[in-house]
Symmetry: C2
């Protein structure tokens, strides 16, 4: 460890004092690992390596891996674009398309979203915006209140499905072949409608799904006990 007289000093300027650890730095590094290699690339050890420390050090800022994932998710939710300038009828769809884009921007984020409780305030913000949009568009309050859950769930699940199927290369093609190969005697409907089932670009299917949900939410009364009732909370399950 003694410094030899031949030692050429190397400035530490280009890699100066390590950036101090922080929750924000950990979250951001986690998100970077996600875009680099998806959920399989995300681990506390890799984050620690990227931050030039050991994994044990992270536990000062983060309770555990799943807590970190919740923080990462909330950070990503902050990127959702809200368009209150749009007419009420379009606000909901626009916000949900933005949510989808955010979830697809980093591979694996949608899978995290599918299994993680939306704890953070960014999730409150999204739900507030959706609820307001539905109400402004004339959807009865109790249907809007139950409906936002369906909307977020559908978008999250669709995004998760897309990322899961994207990985192994030709899974979608394999699925389509499975449907194409379904014998017409056993699966008459599937073979009859095969072209229809797989028709259309993903974007228009997504938009159609949103329309289906919004229209269904607007038109479907709650079970009689709850519909148009006073604000007395019904018994929880």
């Amino acid at each position: 460890m003694r410094q030899s007289s031949l030692h050429v000093p190397v400035s530490r300027r280009d890699r100066p004092a390590k950036a101090p650890l922080s929750r924000a730095a950990i979250v951001e590094t986690g998100l970077d690992l996600l875009v680099a290699g998806g959920l399989a690339n995300l681990s506390l050890r890799r984050i620690a390596t990227a931050l030039d420390t050991g994994s044990a050090s992270l536990y000062v800022y983060v309770e555990n891996l799943s807590h970190l994932q919740a923080l990462m998710l909330d950070a990503a939710y902050g990127e959702i674009a809200y368009r209150p300038d749009l007419p009420p009828g379009e606000r909901v769809g626009a916000a949900l398309r933005s949510l989808r884009d955010v979830l697809l921007r980093r591979r694996g984020l949608a899978q995290i979203a599918a299994g993680t409780m939306p704890e953070g305030e960014k999730s409150l913000r999204l739900n507030e915006f959706l609820l307001d949009g539905l109400l402004e568009a004339g959807v009865p309050a109790e249907r809007a209140a139950w409906g936002i859950d369906l909307l977020v769930l559908q978008v999250t699940a669709k995004a998760a499905e897309l990322t899961a199927w994207r990985e192994p290369g030709d899974v979608i093609a394999r699925c389509e072949r499975a449907y194409a190969g379904a014998p017409a005697e056993t699966y008459p409907r599937l073979s009859q409608l095969h072209d229809l089932i797989f028709a259309g670009p993903g974007a228009s299917r997504f938009d159609w799904a949103l329309q289906v949900l919004i229209r269904g939410i607007a038109d479907t009364p709650l079970p009689s006990r709850l519909d148009s009732s006073e604000h007395t909370a019904a018994p929880q399950q």
Copy 2:
């Protein structure tokens, strides 16, 4: 290893020749581990231990863990109860409720379903039945063809959400508190409708969600290029 003269022989009858390994035995053991401890309890090494062998031996019958999970899912799909005796309008809902029950029967199965391509024939069976039910109920063919995807996705996602939130004890309560504590100035709609958002037992919310989707599917026309068009497949995305 020499047998001492005092050795009392122990019959091998009660643990006779190991049951021969087989794909079915592996799948079943995997499902058992799921009910015992959820997804966290499922590993190739544990399955191997339960079958009295080493994890390497499983690779004769199964490509890898995710392939095994797909097989487990398909086996579970086999437990879905179909009621073709019901009137067409009720068949779809009944099958989807049964799907939910199957996914909730083993903890973690819904999470597998949320991330796994439905490859097996049992999934074809489900889709065939749903498609037929919608058509018999008078839903236009192209809407039914796109709609079954939404229905299965919603049920799967809801089941996955339920199992994910069930684990850590009081996550749901924590979420409800987060919503209850949302300041009325920032989140006027959420505070205003708080009671409504959390009202009602899970079962009636699930049924309502199905009604929303089915009604929306029946009433929402596809983008004009595809609706009521000939069976020419549109360009894939």
